[in-house]
Symmetry: C2
Subunit: 362 residues, 2 copies
């Protein structure tokens, strides 16, 4: 086992040991976790990420329901600990199905929500992450293209891959757990996270990564944990500015928000996943006006989303207030690819160089 | 320009020349395309794929509407022909936006549906494919892992990649146009197309590709054109049996159907995309019974979909009739990953070897 795996396994076994100690002391075993309702999630103004508040809930064996929860936790800990020992991994869905093979019917999960929630509990209580337990997501699938050489520790041995020279046009596929990657060498000036596949392909075709020493990270819509994690590591370990380039609508601002500030759902992982220093390139409502981009009208749900962003602590900056109010005013949104109305090279010859210079990245 | 690009360009210019000749002969220019309603799509019993019937529609400059359609076609041909000359490419969405930069307002597309449909018209009339025109989809993203060495022609030169030794755990990312790939060498006995990411990762983790000389193609739900195209090429050029492994529900049978028989939407491309020899591994309703898999009840829409498959010419085989009737009878469906209820290795140690032996693949 690697040191990380040994650590994660010990953190899990400590939890089980804690129940044992509670029993031995004649007490009723229990486990305390932060309350995960929206009202107990706070925006940490210093760190610029979401964190849990002070309220906690107790899962205690005092009730049958609580005892069952702890039983399931112990079975899951047993499974995860063996998984780490054997250097295996599994998906959340497999864990749910796998519980059907457990010898005690009461320990089986009754729904996948239940097993998913338990894994989140274990993440929070142990301070380790799902990736540390070797739990994989169902889909990852985002890619990287740029002047970066890395070493990935795979089950079949180490692979050294240059994310331009050793990959096809599709780029380097980010593995489910990007912490198996070690950055070797790079010639990059910044990381550019791109929402849509069409725009990612445009930048690669136009050689933007080459011309501007950019590592192009494809977000693929709302980014997977693996994508957010590697983005954070590009920033923290390689000291690269991170910029996010999305469509110009409230849903895309949320994509930026989840890269930069984390999400409510994974508030316990903000320090592992969020890159608060990430900056927003566009499409800004101001770009829609300045570059006279083709637009669509805002729908009612767009307007609601914009209004709720005006209240969201993550968007309480001069920049976002101005942009969101402007958008509510012009009642229009634009896609990244609408820049093609000025020609296929406009985004790489004009728009990005102008914006990135303005932002101080170039 | 490559020979393929020159050919595609000439096929497009021939279309424009045809309008010119019609004008010169004092006629009204027109273009004939197969009618693309469901009633004009037939199942070709010999080739086992969908094809268009005999009915055609005429786009003629006799009406203002028809004249505008031809005008747009000519502008699109001009654009595509230049794109091929310059070895550029673009997405369908970029084409739509790009039309805003055309000098004649009447030539601009009024919606993306209109430009998408025009590209389909041009595919059908020219006999070339969207990929031949260098039109990219918005997303592709599926991957390959297995004993296959290939050479991809990228814009930055050739890349030789072994789809096990030169890739990370994420595998080799299939490019938007897989016809830029040349197969160099392989040690494969068959290609296994897998619906879900969770199962794809399970097979890779368990080394199934290594142990059974399998090329694992991740379908990622309903497969993209690029994924279906490379699957067909694995079959036709490398003479590999192709098997499809999905969830056990009517929607997944349609995924198999689109790999094997093509889809109604792309009936004009069946010979380019479909692999009629592809065989279905499971999850079969019979597996649900035999292996006593965890299930969910069929929903009303599942039942409707199964019933409509009973009428669908693609599923008029003994195998499908039996399986679909059995499923309607047991009123249950199962996911691929439900095999984990027998342990994480059951799928690779037992289920797949048994099924593939039964099917004559192993």
């Amino acid at each position: 086992m690697s040191t990380d795996d040994t650590d994660a396994r010990e953190q899990l076994l400590d939890l089980a040991a804690q129940f044992y100690d509670q029993f031995e002391a004649g007490g009723v075993p229990s486990m305390e976790v932060p309350t995960r309702t929206k009202s107990n999630i706070e925006y940490d103004e210093d760190k610029n990420v979401w964190v849990y508040g002070d309220r906690t809930s107790t899962r205690s064996a005092k009730s049958v329901r609580g005892a069952q929860k702890l039983l399931k936790a112990v079975y899951a800990i047993e499974f995860l600990s063996r998984q780490l020992e054997e250097d295996r991994s599994s998906t959340l869905r497999e864990l749910y199905y796998l519980s059907e093979s457990w010898d005690l019917d009461e320990a089986q999960f009754s729904s996948q929500d239940e097993s998913n929630q338990l894994i989140e509990d274990l993440e929070i209580v142990s301070g380790a992450t799902r990736e540390d337990f070797h739990m994989r997501p169902e889909e990852s699938g985002a890619t990287i293209m740029g002047p970066l050489e890395l070493r990935e520790q795979t089950r079949r041995g180490e692979r050294e891959i240059h994310c331009q020279k050793d990959v096809g046009e599709g780029g380097y596929q980010i593995p489910n757990n990007p912490d198996t990657i070690e950055f070797l060498d790079n010639d990059a000036d910044f990381a550019l996270c791109v929402e849509t596949g069409g725009m990612r392909d445009r930048l690669v075709e136009n050689g933007f990564d080459d011309d501007y020493n950019a590592i192009i990270v494809h977000l693929k819509g709302q980014p997977a944990r693996a994508t957010r994690r590697i983005t954070k590591r590009l920033h923290d370990e390689l000291d690269l500015p991170v910029v996010v380039f999305t469509d110009g609508d409230p849903w895309s601002y949320r994509i930026y928000g989840s890269v930069a500030y984390g999400s409510i759902k994974s508030a316990h992982l903000s320090e592992y996943l969020a890159t608060p220093e990430a900056d927003f390139v566009g499409i800004r409502p101001q770009d829609i006006v300045e570059y006279d981009l083709p637009t669509d009208p805002l729908s009612d749900s767009d307007i609601n989303a914009l209004e709720s962003e005006l209240e969201d602590p993550r968007y309480q900056t001069e920049f976002w207030k101005e942009q969101i109010e402007l958008q509510l005013d012009i009642e229009k949104k634009s896609e990244q690819q609408s820049l093609a109305s000025r020609g296929l090279d406009f985004v790489t010859d004009t728009y990005l160089p102008e914006r990135l210079t303005e932002m101080g990245v170039l």
